[in-house]
Symmetry: C2
Subunit: 373 residues, 2 copies
Amino acid sequence: MTKAPGHGGQPSPRDGRLSSPAPRVRLVDVAREAGLSKTTVSAALNGTGRLSPEVRERARETARSMGYRPNATARQLRAGRARLIGYVVGELADVPWTFLESPYFARLTGATAATALGRGYAMVLLPAGSLQSEWSALPLDAVIVADPVADDRIVDDLLAARIPVFSDRSVEGRPGAHWVDVDATAAVHRTLDHFLDQGARRPALVVPDSTTRFHREVFAAHHDWCAAHGLPELAVRAAEPGNGPVVRAVETALTGLPERPDALLVVAEASPPLVLDAARRHGYEVPGDLLLACVSEDETALHTEPRVTTLSLRPDAVAEAGIEHLVAVLEHGRVETGGTLVPVRLDVRASSVRPSGHPAPPPQPPCTSSPPT
Amino acid sequence: MTKAPGHGGQPSPRDGRLSSPAPRVRLVDVAREAGLSKTTVSAALNGTGRLSPEVRERARETARSMGYRPNATARQLRAGRARLIGYVVGELADVPWTFLESPYFARLTGATAATALGRGYAMVLLPAGSLQSEWSALPLDAVIVADPVADDRIVDDLLAARIPVFSDRSVEGRPGAHWVDVDATAAVHRTLDHFLDQGARRPALVVPDSTTRFHREVFAAHHDWCAAHGLPELAVRAAEPGNGPVVRAVETALTGLPERPDALLVVAEASPPLVLDAARRHGYEVPGDLLLACVSEDETALHTEPRVTTLSLRPDAVAEAGIEHLVAVLEHGRVETGGTLVPVRLDVRASSVRPSGHPAPPPQPPCTSSPPT
DNA sequence: ATGAAAGCGCTAACAC
DNA sequence: GTGTTAGCGCTTTCAT
């Protein structure tokens, strides 16, 4: 029964028996060996207190030679916090963990973990729709809930447990909850304005039918923009995120709408090459017949022909703003800040630039559905 | 200066002052309120000890009404372990965190976190090439190191800190290190056999030039297979992983080798649609002129025309085997097990099936390089 | 059946 | 300068 310690010293008696798994070196062991007290060694190791340089050095040397490694849990207990934060992505709660397969969330996750670690916080991954039992045993200083869906209990549960929550604007106003969000409205308006600039008059939108704040705001922003510009509201909601459903929604947008669109904004994590292929299969030339822009962090957009215009939701910036905010709240008690809105970035590439010499198409032929392949 | 507690009770005096951040309810508070001792309440809550049903119920009720939540850190200290594991991906140590953008690692990461959580372990994300300082403050029971590169110090550092390491076969034989690996040789041989079955005689390989055990083994397996079958060894090493470099390597394989390949195995996380496009740009019809298979977990392979044959490295199975092994070691002291080899899965789709009526190309025309676009 | 007390390993007041 | 001591909040012998 070899015990693999890894971290903590068992509460079992430290027997000097042979074949034991080498009981872990404790602070007191170092102190005894060096002929000093725990206090002195602790101060020496932490660089605190007023110690003579010789003693400090001796303590350090002894600790090193004995292979001493402080017990993290004991320190945490003493410190009153564990510098540990949880991270959940709400979207796709029915298929937990798939979020990592989305380039946006992959980047958001990586950037959040990186930024947090830079500020001294480790990040544990939690599943969407996570239950109390899955996180209640963890000493979480806070939890980040990315894009919660409307019916996820997790935010309530966390707040009830008095764990600070950092999420999107949907938690605005709730005590203990803080937010950072992407400026979805600006994102949509900006892209549609760009389409308009390029001569498009029938821009269509594809967006997943999710209860995420982001997707709802996107839908609303598109609606408003179309109304404001007196243009037809051409929108298709994908049954769910994922390449299959989104590509199908794209096909619907291209062939099944009352008007044949001359521009397409895909606000869903679909693979840009697949979207491009779908357009071609349905007889659209990009950008000649159709201006294309995708909300995506997928770098494959750079390797297609033509390259695909993308709207980056700036996951790195979101992560940084979030952790910054989190640290401010946790370490300086800042609570008054309303939240942070992160601007998006439109990377215009060939797919959404009307080729010169290619005139804008004639105004609104009622419905020119092209035969599907 | 509002303190956001989240988890631990500060060592500061519990003052009854107003406007304080509501000091956290401790076990002793519940005990006092219920007129019981800490012991009894603890036993009641944990379902241990021999307590009268009434007392147990009373304790529970009091705890609930007071909103008592046990302090996780204190429990961990008592228990001697934190049920926390670290997770690092070695590959791409120069661009830490990008690993999540690879579908394989995204799935491996998600599946590992999910399986671990199912066994009661939370998983913290660590960056490739992580330094001591980034994890030494964490009470890690073990660390999973996925695909370490040859020069990464992390495995040594962890073992020196007596933290059990779970990694790939490259750590075999080192005390405290355990492994689970993908059967890379079988993967390559199986795919090449499949190509051979379909009539290919000049299969080419594209693999990143990394010091990962997996990639080295793939390269060696290909070499051996070609030698054993008396076929030319057509291999191109991509300078690094990532769509750009891999697509360029694919182009080299299609146009710059001594022989024009009639099959292509891409062992790198490139987007299947992009690989397909590259082949077409260079005048190959798939599967007519070129059989194509990609090592990939990317579901876009299902949405191309033709669908792309993929070789799945079974990240879910790897994760499960790894966590199973980890639990066995940590909780039952199993140390004798050598390791686990996870088989791969070849999903044959249209891209690697020679169309009927399409004869195998004539034997070896020396070099028929087609003009690049 | 219930409670008192020890102690997990560490840090920080506070003596000396 | 250095050591003694008192906890952080919890679980668990061991008395009663």
